[in-house]
Amino acid sequence: MSDKPVTRRNFLYITTGTFTAAGAASLVWPFIDQMNPDASVKALASTEVDLRPIAPGQSITVLWRGKPVFIRRRTPEEISEAKAVSLDELPDPQDDSARAKNPEWLVMVGICTHLGCIPLGQKGEYNGWFCPCHGSHYDTSGRIRKGPAPTNLEIPDYVFLNDNTIKIG
Protein backbone atom coordinates (compact mmCIF):
# COMPACT_ATOMS: atom_id res chain seq x y z
CA MET A 1 0.00 0.00 0.00
CA SER A 2 1.17 3.49 -0.76
CA ASP A 3 1.23 6.28 1.79
CA LYS A 4 -1.33 8.33 -0.12
CA PRO A 5 -4.48 8.97 1.91
CA VAL A 6 -7.73 7.42 0.67
CA THR A 7 -9.77 10.26 -0.74
CA ARG A 8 -13.48 10.63 -1.31
CA ARG A 9 -12.73 10.35 -5.01
CA ASN A 10 -10.96 6.99 -4.56
CA PHE A 11 -14.00 5.72 -2.73
CA LEU A 12 -16.35 6.89 -5.49
CA TYR A 13 -14.16 5.34 -8.20
CA ILE A 14 -14.08 1.97 -6.51
CA THR A 15 -17.76 1.81 -5.57
CA THR A 16 -18.86 2.96 -9.03
CA GLY A 17 -16.49 0.53 -10.71
CA THR A 18 -17.61 -2.36 -8.52
CA PHE A 19 -21.28 -1.72 -9.17
CA THR A 20 -20.67 -1.44 -12.90
CA ALA A 21 -18.68 -4.67 -12.93
CA ALA A 22 -21.36 -6.50 -10.92
CA GLY A 23 -24.08 -5.17 -13.22
CA ALA A 24 -22.18 -6.13 -16.36
CA ALA A 25 -21.45 -9.60 -14.98
CA SER A 26 -25.11 -10.21 -14.13
CA LEU A 27 -26.09 -9.06 -17.61
CA VAL A 28 -23.74 -11.59 -19.18
CA TRP A 29 -25.51 -14.51 -17.51
CA PRO A 30 -28.71 -14.48 -19.69
CA PHE A 31 -26.50 -14.59 -22.78
CA ILE A 32 -24.74 -17.70 -21.47
CA ASP A 33 -27.79 -19.38 -19.93
CA GLN A 34 -29.81 -19.11 -23.15
CA MET A 35 -27.65 -21.93 -24.55
CA ASN A 36 -28.47 -24.29 -21.65
CA PRO A 37 -31.24 -26.90 -22.11
CA ASP A 38 -34.48 -24.93 -22.31
CA ALA A 39 -37.88 -25.59 -20.73
CA SER A 40 -39.11 -27.63 -23.70
CA VAL A 41 -36.08 -29.89 -23.44
CA LYS A 42 -36.38 -30.26 -19.68
CA ALA A 43 -40.06 -31.18 -20.10
CA LEU A 44 -38.91 -34.31 -21.93
CA ALA A 45 -36.44 -35.27 -19.21
CA SER A 46 -38.14 -38.53 -18.21
CA THR A 47 -39.39 -41.47 -20.24
CA GLU A 48 -41.73 -44.29 -19.16
CA VAL A 49 -41.27 -47.74 -20.66
CA ASP A 50 -43.62 -50.71 -20.69
CA LEU A 51 -41.56 -53.85 -20.08
CA ARG A 52 -44.21 -56.49 -20.88
CA PRO A 53 -43.31 -57.16 -24.54
CA ILE A 54 -39.68 -57.97 -23.70
CA ALA A 55 -38.92 -61.70 -23.36
CA PRO A 56 -35.81 -63.03 -21.59
CA GLY A 57 -32.79 -62.60 -23.84
CA GLN A 58 -34.35 -59.66 -25.65
CA SER A 59 -33.33 -56.01 -25.56
CA ILE A 60 -34.94 -52.80 -26.62
CA THR A 61 -33.43 -49.37 -27.07
CA VAL A 62 -35.47 -46.33 -26.05
CA LEU A 63 -34.70 -42.63 -26.47
CA TRP A 64 -34.27 -40.66 -23.26
CA ARG A 65 -33.12 -37.01 -23.40
CA GLY A 66 -31.96 -37.62 -26.94
CA LYS A 67 -29.77 -40.53 -25.87
CA PRO A 68 -30.27 -44.27 -26.50
CA VAL A 69 -31.00 -46.33 -23.38
CA PHE A 70 -30.58 -50.12 -23.52
CA ILE A 71 -33.12 -52.16 -21.59
CA ARG A 72 -32.15 -55.82 -21.56
CA ARG A 73 -34.02 -58.68 -19.94
CA ARG A 74 -31.07 -60.87 -19.11
CA THR A 75 -31.04 -64.66 -19.26
CA PRO A 76 -30.10 -66.61 -16.09
CA GLU A 77 -26.74 -67.47 -17.72
CA GLU A 78 -25.92 -63.82 -18.32
CA ILE A 79 -26.82 -62.94 -14.74
CA SER A 80 -24.68 -65.68 -13.26
CA GLU A 81 -21.85 -64.77 -15.61
CA ALA A 82 -22.04 -61.15 -14.46
CA LYS A 83 -22.14 -62.07 -10.79
CA ALA A 84 -19.29 -64.58 -11.08
CA VAL A 85 -16.69 -62.03 -12.12
CA SER A 86 -14.18 -61.08 -9.48
CA LEU A 87 -13.99 -57.34 -8.93
CA ASP A 88 -10.19 -57.51 -9.21
CA GLU A 89 -10.49 -58.25 -12.92
CA LEU A 90 -12.42 -55.08 -13.60
CA PRO A 91 -10.86 -51.78 -14.73
CA ASP A 92 -13.82 -49.94 -13.16
CA PRO A 93 -14.79 -52.26 -10.28
CA GLN A 94 -18.51 -52.40 -9.62
CA ASP A 95 -20.65 -55.25 -8.39
CA ASP A 96 -23.47 -56.42 -10.66
CA SER A 97 -25.99 -55.80 -7.87
CA ALA A 98 -24.99 -52.14 -7.93
CA ARG A 99 -25.80 -51.98 -11.65
CA ALA A 100 -29.16 -53.77 -11.82
CA LYS A 101 -31.90 -53.03 -9.27
CA ASN A 102 -33.66 -56.16 -10.40
CA PRO A 103 -31.05 -58.66 -11.67
CA GLU A 104 -33.30 -59.61 -14.57
CA TRP A 105 -33.40 -56.08 -15.93
CA LEU A 106 -30.31 -54.21 -17.02
CA VAL A 107 -30.99 -50.53 -17.82
CA MET A 108 -28.10 -48.40 -19.04
CA VAL A 109 -27.25 -45.49 -21.30
CA GLY A 110 -26.19 -47.00 -24.62
CA ILE A 111 -23.27 -44.69 -25.18
CA CYS A 112 -19.70 -45.90 -25.12
CA THR A 113 -17.86 -44.04 -22.34
CA HIS A 114 -14.92 -43.60 -24.67
CA LEU A 115 -16.11 -41.14 -27.33
CA GLY A 116 -19.85 -41.48 -27.59
CA CYS A 117 -20.58 -44.20 -30.16
CA ILE A 118 -23.37 -46.75 -29.61
CA PRO A 119 -21.98 -50.22 -28.74
CA LEU A 120 -23.40 -53.28 -30.49
CA GLY A 121 -25.31 -55.77 -28.29
CA GLN A 122 -24.27 -59.37 -27.56
CA LYS A 123 -20.94 -58.92 -29.28
CA GLY A 124 -17.35 -58.86 -28.19
CA GLU A 125 -15.17 -61.12 -26.12
CA TYR A 126 -17.34 -60.92 -23.00
CA ASN A 127 -20.69 -61.68 -24.59
CA GLY A 128 -21.95 -58.24 -23.64
CA TRP A 129 -21.47 -55.15 -25.78
CA PHE A 130 -18.79 -54.19 -28.24
CA CYS A 131 -18.14 -50.70 -29.52
CA PRO A 132 -17.23 -50.77 -33.23
CA CYS A 133 -15.61 -47.32 -33.18
CA HIS A 134 -12.51 -48.05 -31.11
CA GLY A 135 -12.97 -51.61 -29.91
CA SER A 136 -14.17 -51.40 -26.31
CA HIS A 137 -15.57 -54.66 -24.88
CA TYR A 138 -18.28 -54.63 -22.21
CA ASP A 139 -19.55 -57.66 -20.27
CA THR A 140 -23.11 -58.83 -19.58
CA SER A 141 -23.39 -56.22 -16.85
CA GLY A 142 -22.22 -53.44 -19.19
CA ARG A 143 -18.88 -53.15 -17.42
CA ILE A 144 -15.77 -52.24 -19.37
CA ARG A 145 -13.42 -55.20 -19.70
CA LYS A 146 -11.06 -54.37 -22.54
CA GLY A 147 -10.37 -51.44 -24.81
CA PRO A 148 -9.94 -47.69 -24.48
CA ALA A 149 -13.20 -46.80 -22.68
CA PRO A 150 -12.42 -45.57 -19.14
CA THR A 151 -15.61 -46.51 -17.28
CA ASN A 152 -18.59 -48.86 -17.29
CA LEU A 153 -21.69 -47.98 -19.31
CA GLU A 154 -23.62 -45.35 -17.34
CA ILE A 155 -26.68 -46.38 -15.36
CA PRO A 156 -29.37 -43.67 -15.57
CA ASP A 157 -31.69 -42.84 -12.71
CA TYR A 158 -34.74 -45.05 -13.03
CA VAL A 159 -37.47 -46.50 -10.85
CA PHE A 160 -39.85 -49.43 -11.24
CA LEU A 161 -43.29 -47.80 -11.14
CA ASN A 162 -44.73 -51.33 -10.94
CA ASP A 163 -43.60 -54.78 -12.04
CA ASN A 164 -44.12 -53.96 -15.68
CA THR A 165 -43.19 -50.30 -16.03
CA ILE A 166 -40.06 -48.29 -15.43
CA LYS A 167 -39.54 -44.56 -15.50
CA ILE A 168 -36.16 -43.34 -16.65
CA GLY A 169 -34.99 -39.93 -15.48
Partner: protein, 417 residues
Amino acid sequence: MSDNYVPKSAVGKWFNERLPLLDLIYGHLMPYPTPKNLNYFWTFGGILTFCLVTQIITGLVLAMHYVADADLAFASVEHIMRDVNYGWLLRYIHANGASLFFMAVYIHMARSMFYGSYKEPRELIWIIGVFIFLLMIATAFMGYVLPWGQMSFWGATVITNLFSAIPIVGESVTNWLWGGYAVGSPLLTRFFTLHYLMPFLIFALVILHVWALHVPGNNNPEGIDVVKGSQDTVPFHPHYVVKDLFALVVFLIIFAGFVFFVPNLLGHTDNYIQANPLQTPEHIVPEWYFLPFYAILRAVPDKLGGVILMVSAIAILAFLPWLDTSKVRSAKYRPLYKQFVWLFFANTIFLGYLGAQVADGMYLIMGRIATVYYFAHFIIILPLLGYIEKTKPLPKSLSEPVLSKEEKEIIASGATT
Protein backbone atom coordinates in the same frame (compact mmCIF):
# COMPACT_ATOMS: atom_id res chain seq x y z
CA MET B 1 -3.08 11.80 -34.20
CA SER B 2 -1.25 9.70 -31.61
CA ASP B 3 2.44 10.03 -32.27
CA ASN B 4 3.54 9.31 -28.74
CA TYR B 5 1.51 6.34 -27.57
CA VAL B 6 3.69 3.62 -26.06
CA PRO B 7 2.02 0.53 -24.57
CA LYS B 8 3.14 -0.19 -21.02
CA SER B 9 3.40 -3.96 -21.20
CA ALA B 10 6.07 -5.85 -23.13
CA VAL B 11 3.42 -7.83 -25.00
CA GLY B 12 1.66 -4.59 -25.89
CA LYS B 13 4.90 -3.11 -27.21
CA TRP B 14 5.70 -6.23 -29.21
CA PHE B 15 2.19 -6.23 -30.72
CA ASN B 16 2.02 -2.50 -31.37
CA GLU B 17 5.36 -2.41 -33.19
CA ARG B 18 4.08 -5.04 -35.60
CA LEU B 19 0.49 -3.81 -35.87
CA PRO B 20 -0.25 -0.37 -34.45
CA LEU B 21 -3.84 -1.28 -33.65
CA LEU B 22 -3.61 -0.14 -30.03
CA ASP B 23 -2.11 3.10 -31.25
CA LEU B 24 -5.06 3.62 -33.59
CA ILE B 25 -7.73 2.87 -30.98
CA TYR B 26 -5.91 4.95 -28.38
CA GLY B 27 -5.64 7.91 -30.74
CA HIS B 28 -9.34 7.92 -31.54
CA LEU B 29 -10.54 7.39 -27.97
CA MET B 30 -8.10 9.19 -25.70
CA PRO B 31 -6.29 12.35 -26.85
CA TYR B 32 -8.63 13.08 -29.80
CA PRO B 33 -9.18 16.86 -29.52
CA THR B 34 -12.85 17.69 -29.02
CA PRO B 35 -14.55 21.09 -28.85
CA LYS B 36 -15.03 21.94 -25.20
CA ASN B 37 -18.65 23.06 -25.51
CA LEU B 38 -20.39 19.93 -26.86
CA ASN B 39 -23.81 19.51 -25.25
CA TYR B 40 -25.73 16.32 -24.52
CA PHE B 41 -27.02 16.12 -28.08
CA TRP B 42 -23.47 15.10 -28.99
CA THR B 43 -23.67 11.97 -26.84
CA PHE B 44 -25.92 10.14 -29.29
CA GLY B 45 -23.04 8.93 -31.45
CA GLY B 46 -21.83 6.83 -28.55
CA ILE B 47 -25.37 5.77 -27.68
CA LEU B 48 -25.95 4.65 -31.28
CA THR B 49 -22.77 2.59 -31.29
CA PHE B 50 -23.99 0.94 -28.12
CA CYS B 51 -27.38 0.28 -29.78
CA LEU B 52 -25.74 -1.34 -32.80
CA VAL B 53 -23.57 -3.62 -30.67
CA THR B 54 -26.56 -4.54 -28.49
CA GLN B 55 -28.64 -5.43 -31.55
CA ILE B 56 -25.83 -7.54 -33.00
CA ILE B 57 -25.22 -9.46 -29.77
CA THR B 58 -28.89 -10.08 -28.92
CA GLY B 59 -29.59 -10.86 -32.58
CA LEU B 60 -26.81 -13.41 -32.62
CA VAL B 61 -28.25 -15.33 -29.66
CA LEU B 62 -31.83 -15.07 -30.98
CA ALA B 63 -30.66 -16.56 -34.27
CA MET B 64 -29.52 -19.63 -32.31
CA HIS B 65 -33.18 -20.37 -31.53
CA TYR B 66 -35.10 -18.88 -34.42
CA VAL B 67 -36.23 -20.93 -37.44
CA ALA B 68 -36.66 -19.05 -40.73
CA ASP B 69 -39.45 -21.12 -42.24
CA ALA B 70 -43.02 -20.00 -42.84
CA ASP B 71 -44.41 -23.02 -40.98
CA LEU B 72 -42.06 -22.80 -38.00
CA ALA B 73 -41.08 -19.15 -37.59
CA PHE B 74 -44.04 -18.00 -35.47
CA ALA B 75 -43.79 -21.05 -33.21
CA SER B 76 -40.04 -20.63 -32.84
CA VAL B 77 -40.52 -17.04 -31.66
CA GLU B 78 -43.07 -18.26 -29.10
CA HIS B 79 -40.57 -20.95 -28.14
CA ILE B 80 -38.02 -18.20 -27.51
CA MET B 81 -40.54 -16.31 -25.37
CA ARG B 82 -41.67 -19.29 -23.30
CA ASP B 83 -39.02 -22.00 -23.27
CA VAL B 84 -35.57 -20.59 -23.93
CA ASN B 85 -33.77 -19.47 -20.77
CA TYR B 86 -34.11 -15.67 -20.63
CA GLY B 87 -35.45 -15.81 -24.20
CA TRP B 88 -38.13 -13.25 -23.30
CA LEU B 89 -35.45 -10.86 -22.09
CA LEU B 90 -33.25 -11.26 -25.14
CA ARG B 91 -36.15 -10.81 -27.54
CA TYR B 92 -37.57 -7.81 -25.71
CA ILE B 93 -34.13 -6.18 -25.66
CA HIS B 94 -33.80 -6.82 -29.40
CA ALA B 95 -37.29 -5.57 -30.32
CA ASN B 96 -37.24 -2.50 -28.08
CA GLY B 97 -33.60 -1.97 -28.94
CA ALA B 98 -34.63 -1.44 -32.55
CA SER B 99 -37.12 1.24 -31.51
CA LEU B 100 -34.64 3.00 -29.24
CA PHE B 101 -32.01 2.76 -31.98
CA PHE B 102 -34.34 4.77 -34.23
CA MET B 103 -35.21 7.24 -31.44
CA ALA B 104 -31.52 7.86 -30.96
CA VAL B 105 -30.77 8.12 -34.67
CA TYR B 106 -33.56 10.64 -35.21
CA ILE B 107 -32.22 12.81 -32.37
CA HIS B 108 -28.72 12.41 -33.81
CA MET B 109 -29.93 13.53 -37.27
CA ALA B 110 -31.97 16.39 -35.83
CA ARG B 111 -28.91 17.59 -33.92
CA SER B 112 -26.91 17.54 -37.14
CA MET B 113 -29.61 19.55 -38.90
CA PHE B 114 -29.96 22.07 -36.08
CA TYR B 115 -26.27 22.77 -35.71
CA GLY B 116 -25.42 22.43 -39.42
CA SER B 117 -23.02 19.54 -38.83
CA TYR B 118 -23.52 18.34 -42.43
CA LYS B 119 -21.91 21.42 -43.94
CA GLU B 120 -18.48 21.77 -45.46
CA PRO B 121 -16.09 20.11 -44.55
CA ARG B 122 -18.35 17.39 -43.05
CA GLU B 123 -20.53 16.53 -46.07
CA LEU B 124 -19.18 13.01 -46.41
CA ILE B 125 -19.81 12.19 -42.75
CA TRP B 126 -23.44 13.15 -43.32
CA ILE B 127 -23.75 11.17 -46.55
CA ILE B 128 -22.28 8.04 -44.97
CA GLY B 129 -24.80 8.65 -42.19
CA VAL B 130 -27.66 8.72 -44.70
CA PHE B 131 -26.49 5.35 -46.03
CA ILE B 132 -26.35 3.99 -42.48
CA PHE B 133 -29.92 5.24 -41.99
CA LEU B 134 -31.00 3.52 -45.23
CA LEU B 135 -29.45 0.23 -44.12
CA MET B 136 -31.08 0.63 -40.71
CA ILE B 137 -34.47 1.00 -42.39
CA ALA B 138 -33.90 -2.13 -44.47
CA THR B 139 -32.61 -4.10 -41.49
CA ALA B 140 -35.44 -3.06 -39.19
CA PHE B 141 -38.09 -3.79 -41.80
CA MET B 142 -36.72 -7.26 -42.52
CA GLY B 143 -36.36 -7.95 -38.81
CA TYR B 144 -40.00 -7.07 -38.27
CA VAL B 145 -40.98 -9.68 -40.87
CA LEU B 146 -39.17 -12.53 -39.11
CA PRO B 147 -41.71 -13.27 -36.31
CA TRP B 148 -44.19 -14.07 -39.11
CA GLY B 149 -47.18 -12.51 -37.38
CA GLN B 150 -49.98 -10.78 -39.22
CA MET B 151 -48.19 -7.41 -39.28
CA SER B 152 -44.96 -9.09 -40.41
CA PHE B 153 -46.69 -10.82 -43.27
CA TRP B 154 -48.80 -7.93 -44.49
CA GLY B 155 -46.03 -5.41 -43.96
CA ALA B 156 -43.80 -7.58 -46.13
CA THR B 157 -46.59 -7.87 -48.70
CA VAL B 158 -47.16 -4.11 -48.88
CA ILE B 159 -43.49 -3.14 -48.99
CA THR B 160 -42.44 -5.76 -51.54
CA ASN B 161 -45.43 -4.74 -53.66
CA LEU B 162 -43.87 -1.28 -53.87
CA PHE B 163 -41.52 -2.78 -56.43
CA SER B 164 -44.44 -3.77 -58.60
CA ALA B 165 -44.88 -0.03 -59.25
CA ILE B 166 -41.80 -0.11 -61.47
CA PRO B 167 -43.03 0.12 -65.08
CA ILE B 168 -42.76 -2.99 -67.33
CA VAL B 169 -40.46 -5.13 -65.13
CA GLY B 170 -42.36 -4.53 -61.86
CA GLU B 171 -44.07 -7.91 -61.75
CA SER B 172 -40.93 -9.89 -62.62
CA VAL B 173 -39.01 -8.00 -59.95
CA THR B 174 -41.55 -8.74 -57.22
CA ASN B 175 -41.74 -12.40 -58.22
CA TRP B 176 -37.96 -12.49 -58.08
CA LEU B 177 -37.98 -10.93 -54.61
CA TRP B 178 -40.62 -13.37 -53.37
CA GLY B 179 -39.16 -16.44 -55.02
CA GLY B 180 -42.78 -17.23 -55.84
CA TYR B 181 -46.06 -15.57 -56.65
CA ALA B 182 -46.76 -14.27 -53.16
CA VAL B 183 -44.99 -13.65 -49.86
CA GLY B 184 -43.98 -17.01 -48.37
CA SER B 185 -41.17 -19.17 -47.08
CA PRO B 186 -38.57 -18.24 -49.74
CA LEU B 187 -38.97 -14.54 -48.90
CA LEU B 188 -38.76 -15.21 -45.17
CA THR B 189 -35.54 -17.19 -45.52
CA ARG B 190 -33.83 -14.58 -47.69
CA PHE B 191 -34.99 -11.78 -45.39
CA PHE B 192 -33.46 -13.64 -42.46
CA THR B 193 -30.16 -13.99 -44.32
CA LEU B 194 -30.08 -10.29 -45.22
CA HIS B 195 -31.24 -9.24 -41.76
CA TYR B 196 -28.24 -11.10 -40.38
CA LEU B 197 -25.84 -9.56 -42.91
CA MET B 198 -26.83 -5.90 -42.83
CA PRO B 199 -25.84 -4.99 -39.25
CA PHE B 200 -22.28 -5.92 -40.16
CA LEU B 201 -22.43 -3.63 -43.19
CA ILE B 202 -23.74 -0.91 -40.88
CA PHE B 203 -20.84 -1.60 -38.55
CA ALA B 204 -18.38 -1.13 -41.41
CA LEU B 205 -20.07 2.14 -42.39
CA VAL B 206 -19.94 3.30 -38.76
CA ILE B 207 -16.17 2.87 -38.84
CA LEU B 208 -16.02 5.03 -41.98
CA HIS B 209 -18.43 7.52 -40.36
CA VAL B 210 -16.17 7.93 -37.32
CA TRP B 211 -13.02 7.96 -39.44
CA ALA B 212 -14.45 10.72 -41.62
CA LEU B 213 -15.55 12.59 -38.49
CA HIS B 214 -12.10 12.48 -36.95
CA VAL B 215 -10.51 14.18 -39.97
CA PRO B 216 -12.08 17.65 -39.49
CA GLY B 217 -13.12 16.91 -35.89
CA ASN B 218 -16.49 17.52 -34.28
CA ASN B 219 -18.76 20.38 -35.13
CA ASN B 220 -20.03 22.20 -32.03
CA PRO B 221 -23.07 24.18 -30.85
CA GLU B 222 -21.53 27.46 -32.01
CA GLY B 223 -20.89 25.96 -35.44
CA ILE B 224 -17.55 27.72 -35.81
CA ASP B 225 -14.24 26.20 -36.83
CA VAL B 226 -12.10 25.19 -33.89
CA VAL B 227 -8.34 24.89 -34.07
CA LYS B 228 -7.31 21.43 -32.87
CA GLY B 229 -5.14 21.57 -29.79
CA SER B 230 -6.15 25.18 -29.04
CA GLN B 231 -7.83 26.36 -25.83
CA ASP B 232 -11.13 25.54 -27.49
CA THR B 233 -10.53 21.80 -27.44
CA VAL B 234 -10.20 19.21 -24.70
CA PRO B 235 -9.02 15.60 -25.01
CA PHE B 236 -11.82 13.12 -25.63
CA HIS B 237 -10.76 11.18 -22.55
CA PRO B 238 -11.77 11.77 -19.83
CA HIS B 239 -14.03 14.72 -20.69
CA TYR B 240 -16.34 13.18 -23.26
CA VAL B 241 -15.85 9.56 -22.27
CA VAL B 242 -17.44 10.38 -18.93
CA LYS B 243 -20.11 12.60 -20.46
CA ASP B 244 -21.00 9.91 -23.04
CA LEU B 245 -21.11 7.25 -20.32
CA PHE B 246 -23.41 9.34 -18.16
CA ALA B 247 -25.74 9.93 -21.12
CA LEU B 248 -25.61 6.21 -21.87
CA VAL B 249 -26.66 5.38 -18.31
CA VAL B 250 -29.68 7.70 -18.61
CA PHE B 251 -30.49 6.11 -21.98
CA LEU B 252 -30.19 2.63 -20.43
CA ILE B 253 -32.66 3.57 -17.68
CA ILE B 254 -35.22 4.47 -20.37
CA PHE B 255 -34.28 1.31 -22.30
CA ALA B 256 -34.78 -0.85 -19.20
CA GLY B 257 -38.08 0.90 -18.54
CA PHE B 258 -39.37 -0.24 -21.90
CA VAL B 259 -37.94 -3.77 -21.69
CA PHE B 260 -39.14 -4.56 -18.17
CA PHE B 261 -42.34 -2.54 -17.82
CA VAL B 262 -43.91 -1.91 -21.23
CA PRO B 263 -42.12 -4.30 -23.63
CA ASN B 264 -45.00 -4.34 -26.10
CA LEU B 265 -45.91 -0.65 -26.01
CA LEU B 266 -44.15 0.13 -29.29
CA GLY B 267 -45.21 -3.09 -31.03
CA HIS B 268 -48.53 -4.01 -32.55
CA THR B 269 -50.81 -6.62 -30.96
CA ASP B 270 -51.70 -8.07 -34.36
CA ASN B 271 -48.18 -9.38 -34.66
CA TYR B 272 -48.99 -11.94 -31.96
CA ILE B 273 -51.42 -13.52 -34.44
CA GLN B 274 -49.76 -15.97 -36.79
CA ALA B 275 -49.48 -14.85 -40.42
CA ASN B 276 -52.57 -15.71 -42.43
CA PRO B 277 -52.19 -15.28 -46.21
CA LEU B 278 -55.99 -15.38 -46.55
CA GLN B 279 -56.82 -12.40 -44.35
CA THR B 280 -55.45 -8.87 -44.10
CA PRO B 281 -55.76 -7.12 -40.71
CA GLU B 282 -58.23 -4.25 -40.67
CA HIS B 283 -55.63 -1.55 -40.26
CA ILE B 284 -52.03 -2.01 -41.34
CA VAL B 285 -49.42 0.28 -39.85
CA PRO B 286 -45.66 -0.01 -39.96
CA GLU B 287 -43.50 0.38 -36.87
CA TRP B 288 -43.64 3.92 -35.46
CA TYR B 289 -40.25 4.89 -36.87
CA PHE B 290 -41.46 4.46 -40.46
CA LEU B 291 -44.72 6.36 -40.04
CA PRO B 292 -43.63 9.73 -41.53
CA PHE B 293 -42.46 8.02 -44.70
CA TYR B 294 -45.56 5.86 -44.75
CA ALA B 295 -47.70 9.03 -44.61
CA ILE B 296 -45.79 10.42 -47.61
CA LEU B 297 -46.38 7.18 -49.54
CA ARG B 298 -50.11 7.36 -48.94
CA ALA B 299 -50.38 11.08 -49.68
CA VAL B 300 -50.00 10.44 -53.40
CA PRO B 301 -53.03 9.06 -55.27
CA ASP B 302 -50.76 7.26 -57.72
CA LYS B 303 -48.94 3.97 -57.16
CA LEU B 304 -45.64 4.82 -58.82
CA GLY B 305 -45.76 8.46 -57.69
CA GLY B 306 -46.19 7.47 -54.05
CA VAL B 307 -43.25 5.10 -54.16
CA ILE B 308 -41.03 7.66 -55.88
CA LEU B 309 -41.95 10.35 -53.37
CA MET B 310 -41.32 8.10 -50.37
CA VAL B 311 -37.90 7.07 -51.66
CA SER B 312 -37.12 10.71 -52.49
CA ALA B 313 -38.01 11.77 -48.95
CA ILE B 314 -35.02 9.76 -47.72
CA ALA B 315 -32.76 10.27 -50.74
CA ILE B 316 -33.09 14.05 -50.55
CA LEU B 317 -31.28 13.96 -47.20
CA ALA B 318 -28.07 13.04 -49.01
CA PHE B 319 -28.19 16.35 -50.91
CA LEU B 320 -28.76 18.44 -47.80
CA PRO B 321 -25.17 19.80 -47.69
CA TRP B 322 -25.77 21.51 -51.04
CA LEU B 323 -29.45 22.37 -50.66
CA ASP B 324 -28.59 24.44 -47.60
CA THR B 325 -26.82 27.43 -49.15
CA SER B 326 -26.01 29.26 -45.92
CA LYS B 327 -22.36 29.37 -44.86
CA VAL B 328 -23.31 29.69 -41.19
CA ARG B 329 -23.65 26.30 -39.54
CA SER B 330 -25.41 26.62 -36.20
CA ALA B 331 -29.08 27.59 -35.99
CA LYS B 332 -28.04 29.65 -32.97
CA TYR B 333 -26.79 32.32 -35.38
CA ARG B 334 -29.52 31.85 -37.99
CA PRO B 335 -32.73 33.44 -36.63
CA LEU B 336 -34.91 32.42 -39.58
CA TYR B 337 -33.50 28.93 -40.05
CA LYS B 338 -33.95 28.30 -36.35
CA GLN B 339 -37.70 28.74 -36.76
CA PHE B 340 -37.90 26.80 -39.98
CA VAL B 341 -35.90 23.86 -38.68
CA TRP B 342 -38.22 23.56 -35.68
CA LEU B 343 -41.16 23.76 -38.06
CA PHE B 344 -39.56 20.98 -40.11
CA PHE B 345 -39.16 18.77 -37.03
CA ALA B 346 -42.77 19.45 -35.99
CA ASN B 347 -43.99 18.74 -39.51
CA THR B 348 -42.12 15.41 -39.60
CA ILE B 349 -43.60 14.36 -36.27
CA PHE B 350 -47.03 15.43 -37.58
CA LEU B 351 -46.46 13.25 -40.66
CA GLY B 352 -45.72 10.40 -38.27
CA TYR B 353 -49.02 11.02 -36.50
CA LEU B 354 -50.84 11.06 -39.84
CA GLY B 355 -49.10 7.84 -40.89
CA ALA B 356 -50.80 6.06 -37.99
CA GLN B 357 -54.31 7.27 -38.96
CA VAL B 358 -56.65 5.88 -41.58
CA ALA B 359 -55.75 7.42 -44.93
CA ASP B 360 -59.05 9.10 -45.61
CA GLY B 361 -60.83 12.47 -45.52
CA MET B 362 -59.11 15.21 -43.52
CA TYR B 363 -56.14 13.02 -42.65
CA LEU B 364 -55.38 12.53 -46.31
CA ILE B 365 -55.60 16.26 -47.05
CA MET B 366 -53.39 17.15 -44.08
CA GLY B 367 -51.03 14.39 -45.16
CA ARG B 368 -50.69 16.03 -48.56
CA ILE B 369 -50.04 19.46 -47.09
CA ALA B 370 -47.44 18.08 -44.69
CA THR B 371 -45.78 16.14 -47.53
CA VAL B 372 -45.54 19.25 -49.65
CA TYR B 373 -44.04 21.14 -46.73
CA TYR B 374 -41.51 18.36 -46.10
CA PHE B 375 -40.13 18.72 -49.62
CA ALA B 376 -40.52 22.52 -49.67
CA HIS B 377 -38.19 22.70 -46.68
CA PHE B 378 -35.42 21.10 -48.72
CA ILE B 379 -36.11 22.45 -52.19
CA ILE B 380 -37.38 25.98 -51.53
CA ILE B 381 -36.77 27.16 -47.97
CA LEU B 382 -33.20 25.96 -47.43
CA PRO B 383 -31.77 27.22 -50.76
CA LEU B 384 -33.51 30.59 -50.36
CA LEU B 385 -32.58 31.18 -46.71
CA GLY B 386 -28.91 31.28 -47.58
CA TYR B 387 -29.53 34.38 -49.64
CA ILE B 388 -32.20 36.27 -47.69
CA GLU B 389 -31.35 35.49 -44.08
CA LYS B 390 -29.39 38.03 -42.05
CA THR B 391 -27.29 35.89 -39.72
CA LYS B 392 -25.97 36.99 -36.35
CA PRO B 393 -22.24 37.69 -35.95
CA LEU B 394 -20.27 34.54 -35.16
CA PRO B 395 -18.02 34.39 -32.09
CA LYS B 396 -14.27 34.18 -32.73
CA SER B 397 -13.77 31.37 -30.27
CA LEU B 398 -15.81 28.98 -28.15
CA SER B 399 -14.92 30.99 -25.04
CA GLU B 400 -16.19 34.31 -26.34
CA PRO B 401 -19.95 33.71 -25.90
CA VAL B 402 -19.49 32.75 -22.23
CA LEU B 403 -17.06 35.47 -21.21
CA SER B 404 -18.16 38.56 -19.31
CA LYS B 405 -17.76 42.03 -20.75
CA GLU B 406 -14.74 42.74 -18.55
CA GLU B 407 -13.03 39.54 -19.56
CA LYS B 408 -13.60 40.35 -23.21
CA GLU B 409 -12.08 43.78 -22.75
CA ILE B 410 -9.02 42.28 -21.09
CA ILE B 411 -8.56 39.90 -23.98
CA ALA B 412 -9.14 42.69 -26.51
CA SER B 413 -6.63 45.02 -24.81
CA GLY B 414 -4.14 42.15 -24.59
CA ALA B 415 -4.52 41.57 -28.28
CA THR B 416 -3.72 45.19 -29.16
CA THR B 417 -0.61 45.52 -26.98
